[in-house]
Every structure is written in C-alpha cells, then in structure tokens.
C-alpha cells in the first residue's frame, strides 16, 4: 500500500441555488444531448454570473499520508461540509478528483437511519450496516457496542421510548466501533451529557492514536482540533488558505479574525469623563513575556495594559486607584479589578506610562467582553472610559481536561475541584 492515503486534486463543487438545475440531473436527457465538458463549463459559469449558482469548493488540493490526523477548520460556508460530503461520497464533485487508498468510513452524524419503532438491538444492526459493517463484524462487536452505550436494559425497547441522551449514546457506540483505514469525523460526534462527551472524545482520541489510521476531523471547536490533530488546514471561500501544524494555523486564524481587537487606541475617544490630568491613550493585551496578544485563552495568564499620558506637574508619587470592569456581551457586569481591593494604591505616575492589570488566569469562557476602565489620582477621577475595549477570549484548557463549563451556567470560569466523601458520622 502506498504511503499516501488521501489525495485531492483541484476539487470543485458547484451548487445551484434553490436546488433547481435548468436542464436535468445529468440523467438520460443530458446523456442523449451529448453535451461536451466545455459546453457544461460554459453553462456553469453563466449560472454563476447570473447568480443562479455558486462555487462551494473552488479549488481544493490536499495530500494526506497514511496515519496522519488532519483537522479542518473554517467559518460557516467555507466549504468544510461540502468537502466532507464529497470525500464521503455523498455527493459528486463538479470537477477535479480525490483518490482514497484504503477502506473508508465517514461519521457525519450519530444514529443515522434510526427508526423509532425498531428496538435498540434492531437499530444497532441497521445503523452498523449503513456504516458499512458486515453482519459477522457486527455480531462480533455487538456486546462491546452495547456495553459502551450503557443501554443494556433497554435493548429490546423501541428507540422511540429512549431519552435523547440514550439515543445519542447508542448511535455513538455504533459509530465508534467501526474500524476502517480512513475515518472521516464530523464534530457532531461529541454529543450527549458531559460524562458521555468525555467518553466520546477519549474514544475518538484512541481511534486516532492508531498509527495506521488516517483521520480527517472537522470541527468548530479549536480546542478539540488542537488536541486531536497535529496538522490542520483552514478553508476559506472554497479554497485551502492555510495548512500546517495545528497550533500555528489556529493562531493565524484568530490573529486574522481579531486583528483590530487586541490593540485599541483610546487617544481620540471623546466619550470620557474625569479631570484629564491622566488620559488613557491605548489599550492592549500581553502575555507573561510581554508579547502583544490579539486575544487571550480561558484560564491562561494575561496582562491588560493601559497606556496613559500624564499632564506635566501631576507626575510623581501619588495615591492611585486603577480599575477595570468586565462586562459580558449582554452588558451584564461580571467583575471588577480595582486596585484598592488589593491595597495597591501607593503608586507613581510618569509623563508617559502604563497601568498593567495582571490576571494569573483569565476567568472567562470564550467570547467577547467589554471593558470599562478608570483611574483616580488622589481620590479624584482623572479619566474613565466606558466600553473602552473589547476583550476576546478563546478556548483554553484550564483544567487540563479539554473541557470547559457550559456557558449556560455563566460566563465566568474559576478554578475548582470536587471531592466525594462520606459524611463525618459515616466515616467515624
């Protein structure tokens, strides 16, 4: 077997809007009319010009070695799912080709084809057959699939009586026991409750650990791409715009996404109050080594730097109160960081200087946050800007688990742990 597992050359896909194509489906009539490739190309480009069609994939080129684990990222509409559908042979490309060496299974959904009236057992067989497993293979893995799903007791109950969680667990168990040479996984696989999600991700992880298995993993979650895939490509407008080690590709992606957000000039802001003896001139983020950041990661250290200018005569030692108030995107105040609470008010002002707020761990879930900033000199308000800057937080891994609390519980993430203990009487 060759060392190359997947080879994609100039892959293109044209979609007609509204799902209607003028002629037919490339069925008998086009066959009879004997249209040439050139004539069809003309027709396509005319359709695109007239806004009746668009290129979902413009020109995708990609080579994957055997055993490689590739992440695919990109915005909605970048072409991720179209590429996935073509590689999975769900739809055909308009031009170009892909060569796949080895057996391949794609997992785009859990529990595809489940039928409500059938029992769990029957649905395991149906779903596994759809994923390309042979009867003997299913029989061999049946017990394993059932015990992984944890629905043993309901195996002979129609799945319509299952909770949505049970359904998903059963579906994932089947998918997780398919063992092809090449695996294509859509992010939707990490589903269910928290405990099961963890089980899913570690199963996916062990599937990708197999040296001989080539994996293509598509996801919106940068954290899971970063942890599962050494290499990542980024799609944008139907072409591959970036390809390389996952960390680099993800950083460049965020760098581009949030270019204007990391540094904000404040010199021209008029919506400020205070005496003006101290004026904020700009804001930016830094990491521990002083490197300017465009964004920060949940749970990782960062410094918020406020540069200022001080009017002549007001510099020198002073009693200072600097404060940053963090609000979420809905405008709800989450917390503040006033310097008086930490008794750090004995300070000094320079003609040009910086107020640095150090956060040992950014306690925020991924998202954008508004910062209000203020500075009091000798208990007199010198400068205050509401909504001075937007802080962009991206996924991090504060617990080393790859997981973060669900934003439903709130925007703040703190360090915590749980113990499970008997009560003191029981222990005594």
């Amino acid at each position: 077997m060759s060392e190359i597992a997947i080879e994609v050359e100039g892959l293109q896909k044209l979609y007609y809007l509204g799902g209607r194509r003028p002629a037919s489906l490339g069925g008998v009539s086009t066959w009879l009319s004997g249209k040439t490739q050139a004539a069809r190309d003309d027709e396509s480009s005319r359709a695109v010009d007239e806004g009746r069609a668009f290129w979902a994939l413009k020109d995708i080129n990609l080579v994957l070695k055997r055993g490689e684990v590739l992440g695919i990222i990109g915005r909605n509409g970048a072409g991720k799912s179209t590429l996935l559908k073509i590689l999975s042979r769900i739809t055909a490309p308009t031009k170009g080709r892909a060569v796949i060496r080895g057996s391949m299974v794609s997992l785009l959904e859990v529990g595809t084809g489940f039928h409500d009236e059938l029992t769990g057992r029957e649905n395991i067989y149906l779903n596994a057959t759809m994923l390309g497993m042979r009867r003997s293979e299913i029989e061999r893995k049946f017990d394993e699939i059932v015990s992984f799903s944890g629905v043993e007791r309901f195996l002979d109950t129609p799945v319509k009586h299952y909770s949505s969680g049970m359904r998903v667990r059963l579906g994932f168990s089947v998918a997780a026991h398919v063992e092809p040479d090449i695996l294509i996984i859509d992010e939707v696989l990490a589903v269910g409750d928290l405990a099961f999600q963890e089980k899913c991700l570690s199963k996916v992880d062990s599937l990708t650990q197999d040296q001989a298995r080539t994996v293509v993993f598509v996801s919106h979650s940068m954290a899971s791409v970063a942890s599962l895939c050494p290499r990542t490509v980024r799609l944008e407008g139907g072409v591959v715009v970036d390809d390389g080690p996952s960390g680099d590709v993800i950083n460049r992606y965020y760098g581009q996404e949030h270019q204007a957000k990391g540094i904000a000039s404040l010199a021209d802001r008029r919506d400020r109050i205070g005496s003006g003896v101290v004026r904020f001139t700009s804001y930016h983020l830094e990491d521990l080594s002083g490197q300017v950041l465009n964004y920060v990661r949940s749970g990782e250290p960062a410094s918020i730097v406020l540069n200022y200018e001080c009017q002549p005569g007001f510099d020198g030692p002073a009693e200072l109160l600097a404060n940053i108030v963090f609000s979420n995107s809905k405008g709800v105040r989450l917390f503040g960081a006033p310097s008086d609470a930490t008794r750090q008010t004995k300070g000094r002002l320079w003609p040009k200087g910086r107020l640095v707020c150090r956060l040992p761990e950014v306690p925020l879930l991924p998202g954008n946050y508004e910062l209000d900033i203020a500075c009091l000199r000798d208990r007199e308000l010198a400068d205050k800007i509401m909504g001075a800057a937007t802080l962009t937080v991206i996924e991090g891994d504060p617990f080393g688990t790859g997981a973060l609390p669900h934003p439903h519980f709130g925007d703040v993430v703190i360090r915590y742990g749980w113990d499970y203990e008997p009560s003191s009487e029981a222990a005594g």
Partner: protein
C-alpha cells in the same frame, strides 16, 4: 460505506454494471432497510401485519361491491370476485411500486445526506416492500383458484414469465419516475393521477371483451393489459393475449427497465443536491 483499496472520486460516472455490482454487495443493507420499513410500518398498529391482507381486502371488497353488484359486471371464464382479485393484486403491486418511487427517495433524503451507499438500494427497497405484499396476496389468489376448482392447465408454466415482466415494468418505471421527480417536483404530483387513468385503461375491473373492437389494437399496446391478461390466462384459463402484444410488451418492458437503470444510476450521485 466500506470501500476496499483505491477509490477514485471524480465527476465521471462508473458503468451501470459496476454500479449494479455495488448494489449487490450492499444486499445486507437492503435486507435491513426492508425489515425496518416492514416492522416500522405495521408494528405500532394493533392489528400488526394483518394489515398486509386487510388493506387490499377492503379495497377489493369495494370494487366487488361497486362493479360486481352495483354496475353488474359479469365475466364468463371465472367468477367476478376471482377475476377482480387476479387483476387487482398485480395492479396494486404496480401501483405501489410506481406510486411509492418518489416518496421513497424523499423519505430517504436524510439518510442519503449522511451516509454513502448505492442509491439503487432505495428504489430496490421500495420494490421489495411491494413485492412482499404482492407475494402474500397472490398466494391467496392461488388458494382461491383452487377453491373455485378452476381447471389449471399447462398455461400455469407461463406465470413466472408474466410476473417477471410485471416486476421489471414496475421497477423500470419507478426508477424513471424517481429520477425525474428529483429535478421536477411536478412528476410527484402527476403520478397518482396517471396511475389512476392507467388502471381504468387496463382490464383490471372489466374483461378485455368489454373493449370495442376498434380500440383493440391500441389496447393491446398497453403492457399492463398484456401482463394482467397473461396472469389471468395462466391461472384461470381466460383468453390469452395475442403473441404480437406479448412480444411488444416484452420489448417495451426491457427498454423501460434499462432506461430506468441508466437514468437513475447516472443521476444518483447528484440527487442529494436536489432533494
């Protein structure tokens, strides 16, 4: 779907034969899908699989009452009830196969958008379901033939031929209609009407002798008429269709089947973009 060795994905279509080969390899999936629909359809009903008989029985009863008693249609060679059954059972099969073609694709849309499998499995499963109903009902017709003590002659040997023709015609038409319905929703709407017309143009509820002689040549061009008459002739000794009409029907059916397979297979990989 599993694929061994090298798979090339491009815009060209594989040959019909290789696609038929792939469909054959997926016969386990076909079995599971047929089982799913069979169990899914009847399990929740309290009468369960009895509905396989009940549904057509009620339909046949309606026709017996309307045409036999109210309109007073009489047949010479076999009792009208049996005449009706022997025509309606094949017709119900054709009707179910062709009428269900577009729907079967539409209801498989979700699965087709998530899993790759030979799309031919979808119309094949539609065909298999109709065929199961047909075999059950036709067994009853044969029991009736025995019960009525009709003299069964060597013509019975021709029965498989007419049944194969019936299956090929229904399958071929269902493939053409399924393919067309994807890009032309009008087809889905028009098919039930066309089927209803077709039923009355064929000798299902009336004997061919009712047809005025002037129209007989056209009537003989209808392959459904030939198939139904052929089946009746082989089991009940009614008048045989003419040799010419049988030859024409056989050619017609072959062309429809091949055209249907070619059309479907050429369109199958792009269907999901339009469904």
């Amino acid at each position: 779907m599993l694929s061994r060795h090298v798979t090339v994905i491009d815009s060209t279509e594989a040959s019909l034969l290789s696609k038929l080969g792939l469909a054959w390899q997926s016969r386990e999936l076909l079995t599971h899908m047929v089982k799913r629909d069979l169990n899914g359809r009847y399990r929740p009903a309290s009468l369960g699989r009895a509905w396989i008989f009940l549904r057509p029985a009620l339909e046949i009863l309606t026709y017996v009452v309307v045409f036999g008693f109210i309109l007073g249609v009489r047949t010479t060679e076999m009792p009208y009830a049996l005449f009706l059954c022997s025509g309606l059972v094949p017709w119900l099969f054709i009707n179910q196969t062709i009428g269900g073609a577009a729907d079967s694709l539409a209801s498989a849309r979700h699965v087709m958008s998530k899993v790759s499998f030979p799309r031919l499995i979808v119309p094949l499963s539609n065909l298999s379901l109709a065929l199961i109903d047909f075999l059950v009902l036709f067994a009853i017709v044969l029991v009736l033939v025995v019960a009525y003590q009709l003299s069964v002659g060597p013509a019975i040997l021709a029965l498989p031929f007419f049944i194969i023709m019936m299956v090929a015609l229904a399958f071929g038409m269902s493939l053409l209609i399924a393919t067309w319905s994807v890009s032309h929703p009008d087809v889905t709407i028009g098919v039930p009407v066309a089927l209803r017309v077709m039923m009355y143009l064929s000798p299902i509820v009336y004997p061919p002798s009712f047809v005025p002689t002037a129209f007989r040549p056209f009537f003989d061009l209808n392959p459904v008429a030939v198939i139904v008459s052929g089946i009746r002739w082989s089991i009940g000794g009614t008048a045989a269709p003419s040799a010419m009409s049988i030859v024409f029907a056989a050619v017609f059916v072959t062309v429809v089947l091949i055209a249907g397979l070619v059309a479907f297979v050429r369109a199958e990989r792009r269907m999901i973009d339009f469904l």
